[in-house]
Amino acid sequence: MSGGSVLLVSVPAVHLSGLDLPGSLYPWRCLRDAVLPPDLRLALLLVMQSAEAQQTEIRFVARPEIFTHGAARDWLDAQSGGAQDHLALTDGNTLRLIPGLRNHMFFFPRGMTSREGALNRLVRLVPEAFAGLASQVNGTLTFRLGSRWIRPPMLPLGFAVTPVGEPAQYTPFVWLPGNHGYAGVLSAKEAMEGVPLPKPPHYVPLTLGALSDHPFVVELARQVREVVLDPAKGPLLIGLPALDRDDAATKDQVEAVLEAFSRSGIALPRLSSWAVRFVAGMPDPAALAGARLTLHAHVPFWHFGRDIFDAVGEVTLTGSGSLSGPASLFSTWLGRAVPVRRIRPQLGLLPVTTGQVP
Amino acid sequence: MTLAHLDAVTQAGIIEGWACDPQRPRETLALAVLLDDGTAVAAGRAELFREDLMDAQLRYGWCAFRLRAALGPEALAAQRLRLVEATTGAVLHVQPQLPIRHVEHHDCETVEAVVAEDPTMLRSIDQLAGCGDLFAAFIAQEGLPAFIRAAYGYVLGRPADPVGFASYEKLMRRGALTPFGLLAILADSGEFRSRPRLLPSPVQPAFVFATAAAPPAAPELTLDDGADAA
């Protein structure tokens, strides 16, 4: 995407259904004040900030897919101010292309397993559409098409300053074996804002994708046990994952993490502890000064601004899958080499993969 | 032999009557009304329901016509009119002086009225009460199970469920239920009332009980002047 020009941007149309748009092309303000999922809102903020920095004018297009050809397409071209690029923000359900323009993709729900699954299905269905992308924003989509490996060029976009949202809420770790729902309720009842940390924490933000990485969860659960039993090893700050449903509350997020721990096979003490604490929302960058930040490969790293990466003492990229793609992406994005720690299965329940049915 | 009658013309210029051929009960007759000089003043088909025709056992009650005339009622009443079959030109009835019938005339002033006036669909299942011979012919040709299946498909738009099928078949074989009685029961069911469907009239191709092949379409006569009230 070149600077000083017009960029067409589309978002999943499901978020437009309640809006009274002025037309097929609409301005940012229509979305700015709309009800949007937090990850989409962040993605839009990132795009808007990046466009502003490049003096690129953004025009949102409601349904790019309706301008297939002929008069409809001519009309779009006439209205689009000479735009040569179209950025499709996708939730994985579809990839909207405008033929003839350079199409770019921003898959924003990184780490949301259902959305990643949907994107993978789409790639299998229309790989050529993805192969033709001019770039992917903050993504590592790679696939094999015939004998070719396809990886649309990465376009790194990042916040200089982490967007300030609602103040983060901290809740204590609570472990009630076999009753994670109630543990979630009890933990959420203790929610507090701006709880002071005795020293720089070890911060591990989670997503559902990270929680589905069994060896990673085993290792995290082991760390939780160590800190709960010896608070001096803390504090361990666990970023609660976004859930794939609109009505999810903090208690549900806590429950999702505890459920994952219970599947790890690591025996945790029946205790509650502020040495291990959950955080819903983005922690105050000041609280992360000198912290150790462990990012799983399935975490949308771009949610964090440069201010946080500059403030933390150490950043590690981790996960049990192949990390070469994410490491390359993250290092490029960050502008410096990032230490990578690949976790191999050691303890806990081993995941079972069935091959052929006998 | 074709039976037909030009009954009257309404104040609104609609020529009313009926026509059918008892030898060809499944055929809808295409008709024209001619002046003495052969000018066609109205055309259409005898395909509407009238209760008195059903009572008279004339083509199941489905052989009435209402044809918009190109001339006003007074002009029509002053002339001798011939009702002819459009395909053959055979004269079916000659009316020396067509009476003018004074009735309250209703145009379709609401969408509901347009839908309610739809002559291709039944207004009530009772309009099939005169179709007993038609149903009997269907059963003779296709069998009782086929009739029950067709009845379910026609009224409810679904296959017959085994329990319903068995019980109605038993009743019908015992003579405790007539074919029309079955249709009436299905149309009175909670299922139909909660999701009413459009039921094609017996003169429509979609009326599945008319098993004989549809007659070849008759050429319509073209009216001589601006009779099209549209």
Binding site: A72, L97 | A42, E109, R149
Partner: protein
């Protein structure tokens, strides 16, 4: 002897034929004069007489029954007619599994399940998309219902372009409708426009509902007759409107072809605000009765409606209002109407049959 073709009649198994079942019926009727047709449902043959009976009566209720009663026992299953693998096979819609015969073709009506899955239930998305790639890979020809569908499909699957052919469908009102309409009580609804739109979000009825409160629409004496059921979504939207605005719109519910014919024939014009269509047969229906169309500037509309239409941005209430006002000009309406019948007649049975005959190497 005419060349043979097998047609998959799965769409005809619906009880109430709209959309793809009607397309299938027209396809059979368009090809009938040129080819020796056989019928199948997937890999199984279907008796010709059962299909022809279904087409004659216009519903698949009994066809479904006929096919299903065929397989009530193992013996009957064994007796089910098979399809001849040497005869080309045409699917008028989705091909659920490829390879039933050596030469296959299928039909893509639109790619809305791919590009706007938010307007479909997940089952429908899976039904269309799961077999799509295998379907096209195994096809000799992929028929697309419009250039718009062809272009959209090729944007996502470029390799399919050499296989694609446009297959336009057509309108075929029953012969007797004109006379029947003439003899019916006159329609006196005042000035009205027919609207094609159901509660589906893709049909964009919301735009019209928004427009009803606008002063320019309120001042006009135009009524809108929506062909289709109201549904709870429309109820909710209507509840937001003033009683005056509500009085300017009526819903017909499910109506017969004849009632639709009448309402279209006596309307001033058709409003077709749908956001996206693969073809848009209601527009051709209206044009065939001499009516101009006020339609979204989207997908297949400009291609299908051509000079008989006035177009607006389907997301712009101002654009819609301006187009409505323009359409209220009798001179313009007459000018557009003059193009309507010629434009509709571009779509006929011969045009529909042509690409299939070309595929089979049969002179049209």
């Amino acid at each position: 002897m005419k060349p043979a073709l097998t047609i998959d009649i799965t769409p005809l198994l619906e009880s109430q034929w709209t959309g793809i079942p009607v397309f299938t019926r027209r396809l059979v009727q368009a090809l009938d004069p040129h080819l020796r047709l056989h019928f199948c449902q997937g890999p199984n043959g279907v008796p010709e007489e059962a299909v022809r009976q279904a087409i004659r009566i216009g519903t698949g209720t009994y066809l479904r029954d006929a096919i299903h009663t065929e397989v009530e026992s193992v013996q009957q299953e064994a007796r089910r007619p098979a399809i001849d693998p040497a005869i080309p096979l045409l699917y008028p819609s989705v091909k659920p599994s490829p390879g039933a015969v050596a030469r296959e073709a299928s039909t893509i009506h639109d790619i809305s399940t791919l590009v706007m899955p938010d307007t479909h239930v997940p089952e429908n998305v899976a039904f269309h998309l799961d077999p799509l790639r295998d379907q096209m890979a195994s096809d000799e020809v992929v028929f697309c219902c419009s250039e718009a569908t062809q272009e959209a499909l090729c944007a996502y699957v470029p390799w399919v372009r050499p296989k694609t052919r446009v297959m336009y469908q057509y309108v075929d009102w029953p012969e007797g409708f004109e006379a029947m309409d003439r003899n019916q009580p006159a329609i006196r609804l005042g000035r009205y426009a027919v609207v094609i739109g159901t509660v589906e979000p893709r049909k964009n009825l919301r735009l019209l509902l928004r427009a009803l409160e606008e002063p320019s629409v309120a001042a006009a004496d135009l009524h809108f007759v929506v062909i289709g059921a109201r549904g709870w979504m429309a109820d909710q939207a209507l509840a937001q409107l003033s009683p005056q605005a509500q009085a300017r719109i009526s819903f017909t519910g499910f109506i017969s072809e004849f009632a639709k014919y009448r309402l279209l024939r006596h309307a001033e014009f058709l409003v077709y605000p749908s956001v996206y269509e693969g073809f848009g047969i209601p527009a051709v229906e209206a044009m065939s009765l001499g009516k101009p169309v006020l339609a979204s500037l989207s997908s297949s509309f400009p291609e299908v409606i051509g000079p008989a239409g006035l177009f607006f941005d389907p997301f712009s209430i101002d654009g819609f209002l301006a187009a409505l006002e323009e359409m209220a000009n009798p001179a313009l309406q007459a000018e557009l109407a003059a193009h309507a019948v010629p434009q509709a007649s571009r779509f006929n049975a011969a045009v529909m049959a042509a690409p299939v005959l070309e595929w089979l190497g049969v002179p049209g």
